[in-house]
């Protein structure tokens, strides 16, 4: 895209996205869009550690579940507004990130991925086990408080649509800032060569941990919003290894380590799976996930830099080479 066209396309896209709820009133379609926004946001968060930091985490459902369960259980037990409960959830997710990160960052390659899978499965098992507190496999329905913004409960899906969009916009700006800030470059150095970065004085352990903590907080925020959008949470829905994998896959398919990759990936994956479910779901269970898996395989083999690399030739090269202003 040449700069003049970019000036034009981006505002047009933003206006179009903002206008969608004015024309689309079917809740299911809005729900699909909300899921696109949430997965894009989580992808952006995951990308901080998985893409820029090159630590392939397959355990981000831990943070999603902590966000969702903390906010919901505070409402259930204490009638505390999720605006506060959600922040507590994000803080707990950051603590969990430190607990997981401290030992796991010593591991490299597949060992790191395996350890994060184990962390996710431990979280799920605990949520299932402590039934008295979490309701176990039955899950927790969120008690209805009427149309009440303080409890993130709205009569129309459009409100959730704008909240999810707001979250996506905020996280996008944060990640964009980080990409160009010092820590973004340190992360890039860690990705290129951890040992070399260390020898140049980059505190790689701290850089990775900071990215992981921020990434956890972002995914936890998505967990909170998801819980109140859907109105119900259970361990298999919010703490499954499949969720962790999908967060990573969104980024991989879109374009790992890029700003727009997670957004493109979320749009492609969520639309692909939801549309196949809609048209083939009743006919053939599993079809949507077969396509999802095939898409992942095709991208890995043919387009390892993700679908965003299809647009490379339209993109001005200037932003890619960071070095000029450093």
């Amino acid at each position: 895209m040449n700069p003049r066209a970019a000036k034009f396309v981006l505002p047009a896209l933003i206006v179009a996205v903002l206008a969608v709820p004015l024309f689309v009133t079917v809740p299911y379609y809005l729900h699909i869009m909300i899921m696109v926004f949430l997965f894009a946001t989580m992808g952006l968060g995951w990308n901080l550690i998985g893409g820029y930091g090159a630590q392939l985490s397959l355990g981000h459902s831990v943070f999603f579940a902590i966000g969702a369960y903390t906010a919901v259980l505070f409402v259930v037990y204490k009638r505390l507004t999720p605006l506060v409960g959600g922040v507590v959830g994000m803080a707990l997710a950051v603590v969990a990130a430190v607990i997981i990160g401290l030992p796991c960052f010593r591991l490299r390659g597949p060992y790191f991925s395996l350890a994060t899978i184990a962390a996710g499965e431990i979280t799920r098992t605990l949520l299932l086990h402590f039934k008295d507190f979490t309701a176990g496999a039955n899950g927790v329905p969120i008690p209805f408080h009427g149309d009440n913004p303080l409890f993130l409960q709205f009569g129309s899906k459009a409100a959730y649509y704008y909240l999810a969009l707001l979250l996506l916009g905020t996280v996008f700006m944060i990640v964009r800032t980080i990409e160009h800030a010092k820590i973004g470059r340190y992360l890039a150095a860690v990705r290129e060569d951890q040992d070399a970065a260390e020898s140049l004085g980059v505190k790689t352990a701290w850089v990775k941990m900071a990215a992981f903590m921020l990434s956890a907080a972002i995914v936890a925020a998505c967990g909170v919003l998801y819980a109140f959008t859907v109105g119900y949470i259970d361990p298999d829905g919010v703490a499954s290894v499949n969720l962790s994998i999908e967060i990573a896959v969104v980024v991989i398919v879109g374009g790992i380590g890029t700003l727009w990759g997670p957004i493109l990936g979320a749009a492609v994956i969520v639309l692909l799976t939801e549309l196949t479910n809609m048209y083939l779901g009743a006919l053939r269970g599993g079809a949507s996930l077969v396509l999802y898996g095939i898409l992942l395989i095709v991208v890995i083999i043919l387009k390892p830099m993700g679908l965003i690399s299809l647009f490379d030739r339209f993109w001005p090269k200037k932003q890619v080479a960071h070095g000029t202003t450093a």
Binding site: P103, L114, T125, A248, R284, G286, G293, I294, I297, I301
Partner: protein, 290 residues
């Protein structure tokens, strides 16, 4: 503590552990030779179960007599998967393998769901409920057979790796691909065979499980995670390590589900896993991987 219950639980765990070992040995063989973690290993257990179920249902070949047939089918599947998919990511970073095999696992699991539906299928053989009695202990025949065949396969693999030219070539490739190439070994051929044998071992585990386990599309997931744990516990790439690791995990799971809580059994498996990763990442038989 009741001694009979304790012994019975331990023996049950040991028998299941044999099957875990078989799945894990396949995984560790692939890792040892190719340095990749196959995240779809459990799905090949599931495929083995479905092939075995189809043989039993449509052509009336019971699981045990059909073992060799399933093995041949699984070798073919492994060969095809390697030639169609795996070969494209050889020499690429670890992430490519992880994601490719994750994608493969999603496709296989849901393809089977599309074809066979989500129903729990089972093979009814008279042997299913047969059991040996020893003192107060009961040994279910399918479990004993599974355990013994699993041991036999591990021994056969060890002989293959240590006493044949093919095995030596595979071990040389595992040590150093470059040196192996200089010695006239074709590393891609070794990779193909190692991968296909790994898949055969997973499929065989599936056959052995069919008489005592329900067959359903998600069954592989249960074995996937356990197999990772076993392999890391035994030391990535170590065949005796995978065998011992499988038996240990089988016993730990059985004991914790009997004495602590059924739904926490997996928790202990994962805690052991993390402990090994952090304290001794090379595993019990580490060094074999280097």
């Amino acid at each position: 503590m009741n001694l009979t219950i304790f012994l019975q639980t331990t023996i049950n765990g040991l028998m299941v552990g044999g099957v875990y070992a078989l799945v894990a040995v396949g995984l560790t063989l692939i890792f040892g030779v190719m340095k990749i973690v196959n995240f779809a290993q459990g799905e090949f257990v599931m495929l083995g179960m479905y092939v075995s179920w189809m043989l039993a249902t449509f052509v009336h070949i019971a699981p045990y007599p059909g073992l060799v047939l399933v093995g041949i089918v699984m070798f073919g599947i492994g060969y095809l998967v390697f030639k169609l998919l795996i070969i494209h990511v050889i020499g690429k970073p670890d992430e490519s393998f992880i994601l490719l095999t994750l994608g493969l696992s999603i496709v296989l699991q849901n393809l089977i769901l599309m074809i066979f539906g989500a129903e729990y299928l089972s093979v009814s053989t008279p042997i299913k409920d047969a059991a040996f009695h020893l003192g107060g202990l009961t040994l279910s025949v399918p479990r004993v057979i599974a355990f013994l065949v699993a041991l036999l396969m591990v021994v056969a693999l060890t002989i293959l790796l240590n006493k044949t030219d093919l095995g030596r070539a595979m071990r040389a490739t595992a040590e150093s691909r470059e040196v192996a190439t200089l010695l006239g070994i074709n590393p891609i051929k070794c990779f193909t065979i190692a991968f296909a044998i790994g898949i055969v071992l997973a499929g065989t585990a599936g056959v052995l499980l069919t008489p005592m386990f329900y067959v359903f599309p998600g069954v592989g997931t249960l074995f996937n995670l356990t197999a990772f744990v076993v392999v890391v516990l035994g030391g990535m790439g170590s065949v005796p390590g995978a065998l011992l690791g499988g038996l240990i995990i089988g016993i730990v799971e059985a004991l914790s589900s009997t004495y602590i809580s059924l739904d926490l059994a997996q928790l202990f498996t994962f805690l052991i896993f993390l402990a090994v990763l952090f304290i001794r990442p090379s595993g019990l038989f580490g060094g074999a991987t280097k």
